[in-house]
């Protein structure tokens, strides 16, 4: 997994450079009475850069090829992420209550191989609970979809 760690270390270094450049170029280092808004971000950026170097060097030295970054379970994570993103994108149509309830049902099918009937009942029950608990009782203005709630 060392290459992932090295990439992460390089990403930290790049974040440090970006922060330093942005702080230096867009934010004043000093203000009227002392340090300006760019003072802390500049030093934070420099610290990130400095700390990234030993991280990358250590990871290059302690290469452990047996540790895998991607495992079969990682695919399951990806499926759940796609499900979440797809549901969030379709919330204007589905409504918040129904959309989030759908995640529960779909998650049960994806992760646990539950029966369709159990999944459908869970989706309906969860949607009703979200609507009444958060939408009605706690008065959170949840986005409505085509079904009207």
């Amino acid at each position: 997994m060392w290459h992932a760690n090295v990439i992460a270390g390089v990403a930290v270094f790049l974040l440090g450079i970006t922060t330093t450049i942005l702080a230096w170029t867009t934010l004043p280092y000093t203000g009227d009475f002392g340090p300006g808004p760019g003072f802390l971000p500049l030093w934070l950026g420099i610290t990130l850069m400095v700390c990234a170097i030993p991280i990358v060097i250590t990871d290059l030295r302690t290469a452990n090829e047996s540790e895998k970054l991607f495992r079969p379970e990682t695919l399951k994570c990806l499926k759940v992420l796609i499900l979440i993103v797809a549901v969030f994108l379709s919330l204007p149509v589905l409504s918040f209550s129904a959309g989030l309830a759908l995640i529960t049902g779909a998650g049960m099918r994806l992760m646990g191989k539950h029966r369709w009937f159990s999944c459908v009942m869970t989706v309906i029950g969860t949607a009703v609970c979200i609507h009444y608990l958060f939408g009605q009782w706690l008065s959170i203005p949840l986005p409505k979809g085509m079904i009207g709630w």
Partner: protein
């Protein structure tokens, strides 16, 4: 007398039906969450924040405190019968707790954990009552330079108590402070790192980040690395949970020692309850006449860490209430909760909001009694809860995280930010970058910057202020030693000292 009067006032607040209900709900949910895999105390509090919108601040804080120490109790329930710590603070309990379960004494192990937690928790509350107001009075002397030093010391101590690469801990800390700088600068009003996005002008809300880092990220991590474990086929009947006289005699002093160690560790910013339980276990093993029985089902090996983790979870409120500086991820989330209701913890809280502070402290007594009863009489029920599949839990965590993020500004922008932080948290865990420093730094980031700038303004730009003021200098010296601690450890190891090392997985 003042102390007793304040405590009496606290009890009149804590024992109102609404606060009693909130306390019961909090400890019950906390216990439940401690048992369920993949949900920790900070996640629980962050996810349950929207549920408290209709409550008054005192009731909500009482409920959150109940969740916090309820989780410390609940983590044991999985440690004993299935050898999986529900919380990192219960890691040490697994060693002797599981061995006791294999010998058919699972009920006794769970029972001593509950009794030990109750006694140590009570010791800790009594000490907290005396210590926190004194700490608050002392903190009244603090100016911006002292607060800057205190926050930097807390960051430094993370490298002492954390495990893994100290550079990764520093990166996490710096990234946390960096995230706190996003939005309008508090002094000049200039937007920073907003990239023209108006939603970012107010900064990134802490609740949104917590919902992502602890809620969504934990879902991904739990999918990838499920917390397995085989349930010991033991008896979890009510009749099995009572201790023998011999077991009580063997564990009573372990409870007291664990309680005192836990209390002291909880006071240290970034000390954490996991470190407390680890140190209490090591101390008990050293103090025991039969250290060879540790790891083979010694009841003192369950009593000491369990007492310590509960005592530490309570004493962790001292720096939060008296200084406004959280010592752990959970108290950091609680600080966000305080701020959500417009309350800023700190030295003045004891005089401006005595009802809240003393109501909270009194509720801890009440919560401990409720937890003791719950743990003795409902253990069979909680063990049965272990059979809930994660495929069902996962959906509910996502729902609570999404609604928690959405309800901050009633906007989908926050929900997408939450997803982003969920992925960041997942990647950080996978690449062994600790999350706790990030969380603490995000909360303390504003304080660090504000106090640094105020201190420099007051000193007309001179850095002398950081080493000529004794309290600031002491804090910064501790911070410096803490940052050098990895080098000190290496030097001690080479010299043949320091065989035992603190390894706190939670960090």
């Amino acid at each position: 007398m003042d102390l007793l009067h304040n405590l009496y006032t606290g009890f009149t607040i804590a024992l109102t039906w609404q606060n009693l209900l909130c306390c019961t709900a909090g400890v019950f949910f906390g216990q439940l969450i401690g048992i369920l895999p993949g949900i920790g105390a900070p996640t629980a509090i962050a996810l349950l924040l929207p549920l408290t919108f209709s409550l008054n601040p005192t009731s909500a804080i009482i409920m959150f405190a109940g969740i916090y120490y309820g989780v410390a109790y609940g983590g044991t329930v999985t440690s004993v019968p299935i050898n999986v710590p529900g919380e990192s603070s219960s890691v040490m309990t697994c060693i002797d707790g599981y061995a006791m379960a294999q010998k058919g004494r699972a009920g006794a192990a769970l029972s001593i954990a509950a009794i030990g937690s109750f006694i140590a928790g009570t010791i800790s509350i009594v000490l907290l009552m005396s210590f926190a107001p004194a700490l608050a009075r002392f903190a009244l002397r603090f100016g911006p330079a002292e607060y800057f030093g205190l926050a930097v010391m807390a960051f430094g101590l993370l490298t002492v108590f954390g495990s893994g690469s100290p550079f990764k801990i520093i990166v996490s800390t710096v990234a946390g402070v960096l995230i706190s700088t996003v939005g309008m600068d508090g002094v000049s009003g200039m937007p920073r790192f907003t990239f023209g996005t108006p939603e970012l002008l107010g900064g990134i809300d802490f609740i949104v980040i917590i919902c992502g880092l602890f809620g969504l990220a934990e879902v991904f991590n739990s999918i990838e690395e499920p917390e397995g474990g085989l349930l010991v086929k033991g008896k979890f009947k009510l009749s099995e949970v009572f201790l023998t006289w011999q077991e009580w005699v063997e564990s009573r002093w372990a409870i007291v020692r664990g309680g005192v160690i836990g209390f002291l560790i909880g006071l240290i910013p970034a000390g954490g309850i996991t470190t407390g339980s680890f140190l209490a276990y090591m101390a008990e093993k050293n103090a025991s006449k039969h250290p060879e029985t540790f790891g083979k089902g010694d009841i003192a090996g369950v009593a000491a860490p369990e007492s310590a983790n509960n005592a530490a979870s309570i004493s962790g409120f001292a720096p939060l209430l008296a200084l406004g500086v959280p010592g752990s991820a959970t108290t950091a989330v609680m600080l966000a909760g305080f701020m959500m209701w417009g309350i800023r913890p700190g030295p003045l809280l004891f005089t401006t909001k005595p009802d809240l502070v003393w109501g909270l402290i009194a509720s801890m007594y009440v919560g401990n009694v409720i937890l003791l009863l719950i743990n003795i009489f409902l253990i069979p029920l909680f063990v049965a809860m272990l059979r809930i599949p994660y495929s069902i839990l996962m959906g509910f965590i996502i729902i609570f995280a999404s609604i928690g993020a959405y309800s901050v500004n009633n906007s989908m922008f926050e929900v997408w930010i939450m997803v982003g932080f969920g992925l960041l948290g997942y990647a950080m865990k996978k690449l062994k970058y600790p999350i706790v420093p990030l969380i603490l730094a995000m909360v303390l980031g504003t304080l660090v910057e504000k106090s640094l700038r105020q201190a420099l303004v007051l000193s007309a730009g001179s850095f002398d202020v950081f080493y000529t003021r004794p309290i600031t200098a002491a804090f910064l010296l501790i911070a410096l030693l803490a940052y050098c601690s990895p080098l000190i450890r290496i030097a001690l190891k080479k010299a043949g000292y320091g065989k035992a090392s603190i390894n706190v997985e939670s960090l």
